[in-house]
């Protein structure tokens, strides 16, 4: 069965990669000292942790993207029966792309495809 095959491959590679990292870490005896752990900032030391409430400059784009993604999900089964259904499916796609295009145009007009 294809799924089990894919999952086996996934599992094997992940396990192997983790093992490699573990073995390599074991092989070297030297400990990572505190001064080595300081994140690289060109020689400077940070004042705080880097983990912050990171201001995502494209947040509206991600919301539009999610809606897009949902629409896309209908298109895969549609694609399979496209030739069988013929013109009806073509009209279907027309409506689809129309909706998506309106979405893009609106987002573009509101300027959400830029860093805000």
């Amino acid at each position: 069965m294809a799924l089990t095959g894919l999952l086996t491959i996934m599992g094997t590679i992940v396990a192997g990669a983790l093992l490699l990292q573990w073995v390599a870490a074991r092989a070297r005896r030297d400990r990572v000292v505190e001064s080595q752990k300081i994140p690289f900032l060109g020689g400077s030391a940070p004042q705080t942790h880097a983990w912050q409430r990171f201001h995502v400059r494209y947040y509206s784009m991600t919301l539009l993207f999610i809606a897009f993604e949902m629409e896309m999900m209908f298109m895969y089964p549609w694609a399979v029966v496209y030739v069988a259904e013929g013109v009806k499916a073509l009209a279907e796609m027309g409506m689809f792309l129309a909706i998506l295009t309106v979405g893009i145009l609106y987002g573009w007009r509101e300027g959400i495809f830029r860093w805000q």
Partner: protein
């Protein structure tokens, strides 16, 4: 107990355990992606139930949606990485009780219900069937969903976007006071932090 059964139990365990861990971790990012893991396991179970498209589409959707959710959770939650441990749930006694009760109830229902057993014959074109349904009886639902999603796009942009064709969303806006008629509280957009600087 064949391979499918074993796989089912493994996925089921992953789904439940990772779903539970979501509420035990301190890091917003870990929480999001634990939830994603739970959904992925469910999606794979759907594949076992001979719904390959729906199953893998679930994986796919949940990956991107949890990605976006992680962005927003990090942006809105204090201490997003959970460097200081914290309790993620409110009223946890009540929520634990409610959760256990609902799980038991639903599981009980599933056990007592007698499901009609008409397994899909192997080799059925399930995806094609789905497509025919979408272009057949369910056409109306499907079209409605399409338009609704467009409405969602517009609404989400209106609600979230600062930039806009009529200028910045917060020009001249003042945060409401804490008590009626009081001083505007909090950050004034004019002096504002990040939102004040945005570039083109």
């Amino acid at each position: 107990m064949n391979v499918t059964d074993i796989a089912f139990w493994i996925f089921a365990a992953i789904a439940v355990v990772s779903g539970w861990r979501v509420f035990c971790t301190d890091s917003m990012v870990r929480a999001s992606f634990l939830l994603m893991l739970s959904f992925i396991a469910v999606g794979l179970i759907m594949v076992l139930l001979n719904a390959p498209y729906l199953g893998i589409a679930t994986v796919f959707m949940m990956a991107v949606e949890m990605m976006v959710m992680a962005l927003f959770m990090v942006m809105y939650m204090m201490n997003p990485a959970g460097l200081n441990p914290m309790m993620m749930v409110h009223q946890h006694r009540f929520s634990i009780a409610a959760g256990v009760f609902l799980f038991a109830a639903l599981a009980g229902l599933i056990i007592v219900t007698r499901f009609a057993s008409n397994p899909v014959a192997p080799g059925t074109e399930v995806v094609a069937g789905l497509g025919k349904e979408l272009l057949g009886d369910s056409m109306l639902i499907f079209e409605t969903a399409g338009v609704t999603l467009l409405a969602t796009m517009v609404a989400s942009v209106i609600l979230s976007s600062r930039s806009g064709r009529f200028g910045a969303a917060d020009t001249g806006s003042v945060p409401p006071p804490l008590e009626p008629g009081g001083e505007p509280a909090g950050r004034q957009p004019e002096q504002g932090g990040g939102h004040a600087h945005h570039h083109h």
